[in-house]
Symmetry: C2
Subunit: 376 residues, 2 copies
C-alpha cells in the first residue's frame, strides 16, 4: 500500500493505492470528516461485484449509504443524468451531512465529480476508481464534466476530490480491452515523463495484461505520483505543466469524436493520437524515426490499434477544430522530444497534421514511403 | 464614483459604482485582460434600454460581442436555459477568447455566473447589475446557481466575477416594486451591521423611492462595502460571517416557495422573513419589542408587505424544512440582537417559529395579544 499526497494550497488530498485495501476504505473515509451519508454513484456490474464489500466497510464505520447506478458508457455523461441524480440526492440528503463516492471508471468519475461540484454549490466527494484508466489518470486531479451535443466536457468544473482510493484488486475483473485502454495512458506517462516506466512497460506488459498484482500496483503508484506532481504544479492547466498530460489527446479526441465515441474507446483513441503526435514530432525534427518506432512497437505489443480505421480524414480534421485544446485560431499540440520529454507547440501547419493522420490511415508507413506518398 | 475592493487570496476583484460610468465600462473590461469576445446575457427590456450604450463602449475598446436574451423571472434559472446558452456560447467561441457579461438583475446574475462557472470548466465573467437588489447584494460574492423542481439553487457554484460594475443610472428605469424589492436587502444590511445605514433609510427612504441619484449611490456603495468585507472574511459561508447575510432569508425563502415564486418577489419575501426573524428574536429575548417595531415601521414605510397573505402556515413550514440553510435535522436562523448586530441560533423550538409566522398571518399583533393568542 502506498499513500501519495497531491499538494494544493488549501485542498491537498491523498491518493491511497494497494491490493486488498478496500476493507480500510470506511476508516479512511471517516478520517476525512466530510459527512455521514454516502451517496455512491456506480454501475450495475460494479455494484454487483463490489457493492457488498463497500456496504460492509462503510456501515462498519457508522455511515449510511445509498447506491445509484447509471448505464455504462459516455451517454451517461449528460446534463439529464446529472440533473436526475441531483434530484435523487436532494431527496436522500435529509440530514445535510452528505458526500459523494464515485465508484467506477472515467465516465462515472467525471459525472460524479461534476454532480459533487454543483450540488448546493459543492459537496465533498471521494474517487473510488475501478478501472486502470481511472486509477492511473482520470480519478486524479479534479477534472470533472458532462457532455453536450456540441462537444465533450463542455460543462464541467475543476473540483478536487477529498481522497482517491485505488483498490488494485478491483482491476482483476477488467476485460482485456479495458486493461489495454488504461495501458494507453500509462504509455503516455512514459513518453512525456518517465523513461524507466517506458522500459518497464516494454519488459513487463504481458504481466499487466495478465492483471498480475505486482505489475498493476507498480504502474498505478508510479503514474499516480507523476500525475499528483503535475496537478500540484498547475491545477487549472494554466502554466503549461498539466497540459503535457494531453499528449495524444488532441488528435485522440478528434478520432474519438469522428467515430462518434463508438468505434474507439478512450484509450484506443489516445493510442492513435499518440502515434499522430509522434508523427508530427518526427516531421518537426523533435523525435527520431527510432523513437516513433519504439512507441509504435509498444502500442502494437499491448494490443492497442496503430491504424486509424472507419473514419475519414476530413471527419477527423473537422472534429479537430472543435477541440477545447485549440486556443484562438491556433492549434496546439503536445509533442514528444525523445522518450520522457514533451513540449507544447502551436500553429502546426495543417499539412503536417494531415500527413501525420494519413500516415496512420493508409497502409503501412513503409509501403507509403515506397510509394513516395510521405514527405520523407 | 467609488471603487471597492473585494479581497480574496487569489481572486480579488473590484466593485465599481457610480453615476454615468457606463461609458468607461469597455476600458475597465479591457484592463482585466480576460478575453476579446464578450457574450452578454440579458433580457429584452434591458437590451432595448441599454444595449446600444454597451455596444458602443465595448466596440470602442475592440471587443466583439454577442447578446443573448432570456425571459424575465425565476423560470429562466433552469438547467434547460443554461444548457441552451452554453451550446450557443460554444458556437460563438471560435477564437477561444470568450468571457461572459451578466447584464440584469438577480436571476440573470445567478444564471450567467453559473454558465461561466461550468462552460469549459470555467471562463471569466463580469457582473453588470441593473437592479437595486443586484447592485447591493446578488451581483457581489460569487453565489451562482440554477433551480431544480426539488429546490432553488440546488445546482450552482461559488464562482467569483472579475468585476462588478454598478451603473447607478440604470436604476432610474426601475419600477417602484423593483426599487422596494432592493430596499428589503438594504434594510437587511442595516439590521445586521449598520445602525447609521438604518437611520439613513428611516430619514431618506422617500429619496430612494424617487430614485434620486445621491441616495441610490450612497446605499449601493455602503452595502457593497459591507458585503465585500463579509465575503472576504468567509467566501464559502463556512465561518459564520457570510451566513449573517441570510437574515430574513430562512423564513423568506419558505414564504417565497410556499407562494410558488409568484405571490412575492424576493425582496417582499425577505421583508416578511425579516419580520418573522425579528419575532423569533423577540421571543428569545434578543430584541426588544421596540426593535421589532422599528424594523416593521421602516418596512411598512417603504411599501413592503408586513403581513403574510395567500399561503398557509403548513405550506410555509413544509417549504421551511426543505431549505438549504438547515443543517442536519436542526433548524438554523440568523436573528437580530438589537439593530446592527446579528447572531446565529440553531434548534429554535418549532412552536416559536410557528408563533412568529402566525403573528404575521393573522390580524395585528395587538389584536392577537388582546385575544391571548401570543406567548407574551
Amino acid at each position: 500500500m502506498e499513500t501519495i499526497k497531491l499538494a494544493l494550497i488549501d485542498r491537498s488530498y491523498n491518493i491511497i493505492a494497494g491490493e486488498n485495501i478496500i476493507k480500510a476504505f470506511g476508516r479512511n473515509a471517516a478520517r476525512l470528516k466530510i459527512g455521514t451519508d454516502a451517496y455512491i454513484i456506480t454501475n450495475e456490474k460494479i455494484k454487483r461485484l463490489y457493492g457488498n464489500r463497500i456496504r460492509k466497510t462503510m456501515e462498519g464505520c457508522g455511515f449510511s449509504l445509498r447506491f445509484r447506478t447509471v448505464p455504462d458508457g459516455e451517454a451517461s455523461k449528460s446534463i439529464k443524468t446529472a440533473s436526475s441524480i441531483i434530484a435523487d440526492i436532494a431527496d436522500y440528503d435529509q440530514r445535510r451531512r452528505i458526500f459523494i463516492i464515485a465508484m467506477g471508471g472515467g465516465v462515472i468519475g467525471d459525472l460524479s465529480g461534476f454532480v459533487a461540484s454543483v450540488y448546493k454549490r459543492g459537496v465533498p466527494y471521494v474517487q473510488l476508481p475501478t478501472t486502470l484508466l481511472a486509477q492511473v489518470d482520470s480519478a486524479i486531479g479534479g477534472k470533472t464534466g458532462v457532455d453536450l451535443a456540441e462537444g465533450k466536457n463542455l460543462i464541467g468544473a475543476f473540483y478536487q476530490p477529498r481522497l482517491v482510493f485505488s483498490e488494485i484488486g478491483f482491476l482483476k475483473t477488467l476485460s482485456q480491452r479495458q486493461a489495454r485502454s488504461g495501458l494507453a495512458e500509462v504509455i503516455k506517462y512514459g513518453v512525456i515523463k518517465d523513461t524507466a516506466l517506458f522500459s518497464y512497460l516494454e519488459d513487463n506488459y504481458p504481466d499487466i495484461l495478465r492483471l498480475k498484482t505486482g505489475a498493476l500496483e507498480y504502474i498505478v503508484c508510479r503514474c499516480s505520483r507523476i500525475k499528483a506532481k503535475m496537478v500540484s504544479a498547475d491545477e487549472r492547466e494554466e502554466k503549461g505543466v498539466r497540459t503535457l498530460l494531453n499528449f495524444g489527446h488532441t488528435a485522440g479526441h478528434a478520432i474519438e469524436a469522428a467515430g462518434r465515441y463508438k468505434l474507439h474507446n478512450h484509450g484506443e483513441a489516445v493510442a492513435l493520437g499518440m502515434l499522430v503526435a509522434a508523427g508530427i514530432s518526427r516531421r518537426l525534427g523533435l523525435l527520431p524515426e527510432s523513437g516513433v518506432k519504439r512507441i509504435e512497437n509498444l502500442i502494437r505489443a499491448v494490443g492497442l490499434p496503430t491504424r486509424i480505421t472507419g473514419v475519414t480524414l476530413s471527419a477527423v480534421i473537422n472534429a479537430h477544430y472543435r477541440d477545447k485544446k485549440f486556443l484562438g485560431k491556433k492549434n496546439r499540440f503536445v509533442l514528444a522530444k525523445g522518450i520522457s520529454k514533451a513540449v507544447i507547440r502551436e500553429n502546426i501547419p495543417l499539412e503536417i497534421i494531415k500527413d501525420s493522420l494519413r500516415e496512420r490511415m493508409r497502409g503501412s508507413t513503409a509501403l507509403l514511403r515506397a510509394a513516395g506518398k510521405l514527405d520523407r
